[in-house]
């Protein structure tokens, strides 16, 4: 019974590991952050290259600037579109660097290069509801200082960045206390009147969709955010042809064009792929692209769902299998030593308190982005319920039975094998069940580091403020969690048979 269970765990783990095929070819790995414009620009880069028969691997929707930049440094990705202001403020933390040449001289020693700019400045802007702006007479950012009751809610990144809220509130002496929100949700929230003001990007398509007023940055606080492809210098040498094509995008997208492209996605509900394809068609002459039109990959709902579910199961299944094997092994070693056991359970609990996204980000310098770090992070999250239940169950077996087992002359291993372990199985399974449900839920965040799974439609949907798309990931994920709950409950009931 026990042996077959552990063999099963091992085999499932192995099968999942083998099903994750390593890609042997050498495609250009194009990445994007998790907001609409960056998706769109990455899609344009990707389709441009594919149109010239250069293989592309997409790692879209990575959870923020640092994840993208780390992934680039670690050669996990080859190109993504960055903004000059973000480079100087958030990455280099040298706000005095503004021009591309200045930035590049600072980036050279890191092996990174900013290619020629695309042609638009997507700086931060502060947006308020037009009606509210009208009634309070808000024109400049400074006007906010006179209304401390206003509910200012900003994207998490804006709240943290040096060039974001901390500096802004100082420069304009803004008294409000602020809260964080997912950027894509902010527009809906402001339109619904749930919040009064939020940060926006000046090229956001939503600015024309909702009745919003952009306040003037009269003190010129926000630096310029000129968009440009960011690459590693060694990649420029390895893939000169691809690099040359990416360079051709320089100066082809002005601010008006960008806002229009963004609006096609945000307002008209076109897909990134459609908008990118249409843009490239228009620019075909200018860019000197090959004559044939870029093919639009037709995305079908069910096969895509199936592949997301499969990837989700691979992520959680592998993490769970590893957590079961390693968690139980650790529990068996430490349970008899109360202090050691407490220390281990405490440590696993500590892991649990690291916010999911932070843990995923911490994995990047070690494991890069994508599948592996996501599995490692999920593995770490799964440890606590498994180890805590196993240690508790193993160490609280009826002492009379333990005494009998000793008196019968059972060795330490035999006591474990024939008494403690079988009696602990129901509780151990309860722990595995909890871990399974937790990791199925948490695995949706893995999309932020490019690991795919059901988080992918959620991340894309968030960037688009597209509820349908979000539900396409959220509903199957919830159903998987419920399914796992029932499945493990059934197994738990089965192994509990014969116990009182």
């Amino acid at each position: 019974m026990l042996r077959s269970f552990f063999s099963a765990v091992f085999l499932v783990g192995l099968a999942l590991a083998l099903s994750v095929q390593a890609n042997q070819s050498n495609p250009v790995r194009v990445a994007s952050k998790n907001f609409a414009e960056n998706y769109l620009l990455a899609e344009i880069v990707a389709q441009l290259l594919e149109g010239e028969d250069i293989a592309v691997e997409r790692a879209f929707g990575l959870g923020g600037t640092l994840i993208c930049y780390q992934a680039l440094l670690n050669a996990e990705i080859d190109v993504y579109v960055e903004y000059t202001g973000t480079l100087s403020q958030a990455i280099l933390q040298r706000p005095e660097l503004t021009g591309r040449d200045e930035l590049n001289s600072a980036l050279t020693e890191r092996g990174i290069r900013l290619l020629p700019q695309l042609g638009f400045n997507n700086t931060y802007a502060i947006a308020v509801r037009s009606q509210l702006a009208e009634s309070l007479g808000l024109r400049n950012i400074g006007d906010l200082a006179k209304h401390p009751q206003l509910r200012l809610v900003f994207s998490h990144e804006f709240l943290e960045r040096g060039d974001g809220w901390p500096g802004l509130s100082k420069r304009y002496a803004l008294p409000q206390s602020v809260e964080g929100i997912e950027h894509a949700l902010a527009y809906q929230a402001i339109a619904d009147g749930a919040i009064d003001a939020t940060d926006a990007y000046s090229t956001d398509g939503e600015l024309s969709r909702y009745p919003l007023r952009v306040l003037a940055d009269d003190l010129a606080y926000f630096p310029a955010y000129m968009a440009a492809p960011l690459v590693r210098t060694d990649w420029l040498e390895q893939a000169p042809a691809a690099a040359a094509w990416v360079r051709r995008l320089a100066g082809t997208i002005d601010a008006e064009t960008m806002q229009r492209l963004n609006a096609k996605v945000a307002v008209e509900g076109m897909s990134y792929a459609e908008v990118a394809s249409a843009f490239l068609d228009v620019q075909r002459q200018t860019l000197g692209l090959s004559a044939r039109g870029s093919e639009m990959p037709t995305v079908r709902l069910w096969p895509q769902l199936a592949s997301h579910v499969l990837r989700h199961l691979q992520l959680t299944g592998l993490a769970l299998a590893a957590a079961i094997l390693i968690g139980l092994a650790v529990s068996l070693v430490v349970f008899a030593n109360r202090r050691l056991a407490n220390a281990v359970v405490y440590f696993c609990g500590l892991l649990q308190t690291v916010p999911s996204l932070a843990l995923l980000a911490l994995m990047i310098p070690i494991f890069g982005i994508g599948f592996t770090p996501a599995v490692v992070a999920l593995f770490l999250y799964s440890l606590l319920p498994i180890v805590r239940n196993a240690v508790t169950a193993l160490s609280t077996v009826d002492p009379t039975l333990v005494r009998v087992a000793m008196a019968l002359g059972l060795s330490r291993w035999q006591q474990l094998r024939h008494l403690r372990l079988p009696l602990s199985l129901p509780m151990i399974f309860a722990g595995i069940r909890t871990a399974a449900v937790i990791s199925i839920g948490t695995a949706t965040l893995a999309a932020f580091i490019g690991a795919g799974g059901l988080g992918e439609p959620i991340v894309v949907g968030l960037s688009l403020n597209d509820t349908d798309m979000i539900l396409r990931g959220a509903i199957p994920a919830a159903m998987l969690a419920i399914l796992a709950e029932f499945l493990f409950a059934a197994v738990q009931k089965r192994v509990s048979r014969g116990y009182q």
């Binding site: 009379t400 005494r403 000793m406 002359g409 059972l410 009696l423 014969g498």
Partner: protein
Amino acid sequence: MSSSSASADACVAFHGVSKNFGDLVVFNDLSLILPSGKTTAIVGASGSGKTTLLQMVNALEHPDQGLVEVFGEPIPQDQLQYFRHRIGYAVQGAGLFPHLSARDNVVLVARLQGWSEARIQQRFAELLEAMALPASLAQRPPRELSGGQQQRLGLCRALMLEPDLLLLDEPFSAVDPVTRLGLYEVFEEVQRGQAISTLLVTHDMREARRLADVLVVLEHGQIIQSGSPDDVFAAPASPYVERLIASVA
């Protein structure tokens, strides 16, 4: 110390044993000899230290000072498993493993010892018969059995490896009086031929009188009186012993 030579027929000998649990003194310089082939009953109230005394014989407890000799030698600390295989152990409530069938509970150790299935089956059948248990309960889990049946299975398990010494820690006390009489009878049946040296711990003077060859009365870790049951009942050495006798009269 070397009085062990004087007790050649001793199965277990305690020499000047002291034992504390923290501040609580359980025994202070206790000496006691259990003769081979006899049943010795240790009688005392709860807290008299009788269970601790029993558990020092199979090394579940260890004396702080003094020496416990079993089978004529000090307990071999480096070979405890082998040593314990020679000692049967049965406790109040039977202590059967809830996840194993009745049979698996009884034969587990023999199987781990590498006994052949035929030998196991023969011994198991023998024990069922001796304990007057029907073969039909072999595959049932303990929770489906009566208290008396569980207790009998506990005795079967203690006897499975044909031990040289039996340690019985109140195995007859958690069942109803009629069932208890039945248990007495099967125990007496087992002891009828070649009797196994037995240490029986009980708080029941009547039980001790019926089953034991030697009776030892323990109070607060002190031996108050020892001798044949008839002698103890005829001439109680202290008011405490008198009260113990009176309680079952």
